[in-house]
Amino acid sequence: MTIVPQQTKKNTELWQNPNIKPFIQIEGITKSYNGAVPLRDISLSIYKGELFSLLGRSGCGKSTLLRVLAGLEKPTSGRVLVDGIDVTSWPTYKRPINMMFQSYALFPHMTVYQNIAFGIKQDGLNKTEIDDRVREVLGLVQLTGYEDRKPHQLSGGQKQRAALARSLAKRPKLLLLDEPLAALDKRLREQTQFELVNIQEKVGITSILVTHDQEEAMTMSTRIAIIDEGKIRQVGVPHDIYEFPNSRYVAEFIGSINLFEGVVVEQELDHVLIESSEIDCPCYSAHTGVIPIGSNVTLAIRSEKVMISKQMPAQSQNWAQGLVKEIAYLGDVSIYYIRLNSGKVITATLPNLLRLSDKDFQWEDTVYVFWRSENSLVLNS
């Protein structure tokens, strides 16, 4: 692959097309040491040009997986294939995989130029080739003119870009990004997210990003894998992960969600009816999967999909009566904590279309919360 800016259109159907072979194949990677099992039978297929995120809490094994891919750690079992070639037994210095470390790991005794040239020099290129490549990636990350700076003379954002340039200079087949934005402050992070995606798309390099920041994963990636305790919980595009979590864990991990325990009382082709002791009336959910009547399920409704009204809704399903207990004002939105008659507290996120003093709902108001049937999700308990 070459670092030539190319028009890559975001082909989101890559992984749905059975004719396309995955570029990176991770097959049943298990890692265990001293009784702990940081990775349990992880299998993933990543396609060319993707920016794939591994998302999970700290200590879930996502960084270990990245280190296994980089060759810095050996898996107990399983295989890693890059472009069809099994690299599992290859040492890290031979792999066409480069990693950008969380700490950036820019060599403090070398200038930016030397840092970037360091990797390419090992490939045995001649001086002009090295120089061309360094200038090329420096231009790509907009660090031209900073060649002679030492790492300690760079700002956090510049260090991050220098580290990215160093990883890109080797023209790896796979770029690994370990919490690339964690060391930056919030404002810079948001800006850098887009920069990073732009560079990644321009170069067209297949990348795997490790993060604990769901917003980062959501905005940047083509697909996300949610990892928990060394296992993959769900793989999907950001939209699917958010709107259609496959488990209670994923639902709770991403965003803010209200969960109700209930029992299926009616099951039709296009919907299920759930009765929950926590909600006043039956809940009609547009769920199409097969769930036998009488089974215990969890009903999930995203906070921003909960609506509030002072009038009793006309519909006979999907609502509950409650009392406003707390209002968290966040500027752009407010979060309402509403205690239902059953004692269950649910959260509703509403945009602040009006100033707070003109709000319709105040503390201790009796309100009705309701939601559309297609916005509730049924999760197996």
Partner: protein
């Protein structure tokens, strides 16, 4: 697509008690300056004696107790006479005996430092990379060597290397040689003794710096395509520069003033600076000359180190 996430829960203002506590601590710190302690110590036990030595170096040697003339003397009630005698310094520069011994010592110390670096760096690296339990055993054993007197350790080398020593006896008995080898009395053996005694001074500072190097630098170098040897020379060694420098200064400075090792392992021909100093003091009873030699050595040793350190940016 972009989705905004809102953290659930209110962010309340944090309590200020912690900040206040640190504020108080800072005020306390301002009143007591911790650097006073080392400063006092150095003034009292290093700078002051150094000036006494400097003063004596300008005196003349006389047969008296103490064996030197007064530099500052009240001749009359209001007349202070300062007699500065530069004869000793002139002698040091002109007398080839002093110059050769000085150069001998410098050469010897540089060799000892080089050999210590050669052994110390891989040893420190080895300890650094050892498993935790082995690492602590190695470190403890190294520091244990300080617990035995240097005199005893050098005596055991004499026992090993003397004409009728263990090594010669073994070689003679096994028939490798017909006549005992003269190990002692040359600069190589003195260098060996110095390396043996001062190697820990090299290992410890390097080890300390190696431990501080972030592992991600090393991993990153591997990841960028380097094999072990290249990583060691391109990353590990430059990053442990500080420890190497400290080790070199420690070994070099102690070797320069060393008296016991050249005295015990050397001969009449292997004159080092430490031995010359000893002779001036105790054999010739020429205190001013000995003091002048000390000052000269200090200047010759400290100045290059000072410049070296400045250049290295420490």
């Amino acid at each position: 697509m972009k989705i905004r996430f809102i953290p659930v829960g209110l962010t309340r203002e944090r309590k200020k008690s912690k900040k206040q506590f640190w504020g108080i601590y800072k005020n306390m710190e301002n009143k007591f300056r911790p650097e006073i302690l080392p400063l006092l110590w150095i003034l009292l036990f290093f700078i002051a004696p150094l000036f006494i030595v400097l003063k004596i170096s300008f005196a003349e040697s006389i047969f008296k107790i103490p064996p030197f003339s007064e530099v500052f003397k009240m001749v009359e009630e209001h007349l202070l006479e300062i007699r500065i005698n530069l004869k000793n310094y002139v002698a040091i520069i002109h007398d080839s005996y002093y110059v050769t011994t000085f150069l001998n010592s410098v050469l010897l110390s540089i060799s000892a430092t080089l050999v210590c670096t050669l052994f110390g760096l891989p040893m420190a690296y080895g300890i650094h990379n050892a498993r935790d339990n082995i690492k602590s055993i190695l470190l403890l054993s190294l520091s244990l060597s300080f617990w035995t007197s240097i005199l005893i350790r050098i005596y055991s080398w004499m026992n090993l290397l003397s004409t009728h020593g263990i090594v010669n006896t073994l070689l003679l008995k096994s028939g490798v040689i017909d006549f005992p080898i003269q190990f002692q009395g040359n600069y190589y053996t003195i260098c060996l003794g110095m390396v043996f005694c001062y190697l820990p001074f090299m290992i410890f500072p390097i080890y300390a710096v190696l431990e501080k190097i972030d592992r991600s630098y090393i991993e990153s170098a591997y990841n960028l395509g380097c094999r072990s040897a290249k990583v060691f020379w391109a990353i590990t060694v430059p990053l442990s520069k500080e420890g190497l420098l400290t080790g070199c200064i420690l070994v070099f400075a102690t070797s320069m003033g060393e008296f016991v090792i050249p005295e015990l392992l050397g001969s009449a021909e292997t004159i080092t600076f430490g031995r010359v100093l000893w002779n001036e003091f105790f054999t010739n009873l020429d205190w001013p000359m000995a003091c002048a030699l000390s000052i000269a050595m200090m200047l010759f040793v400290i100045l290059p180190i000072f410049v070296f350190q400045k250049k290295a940016g420490l």
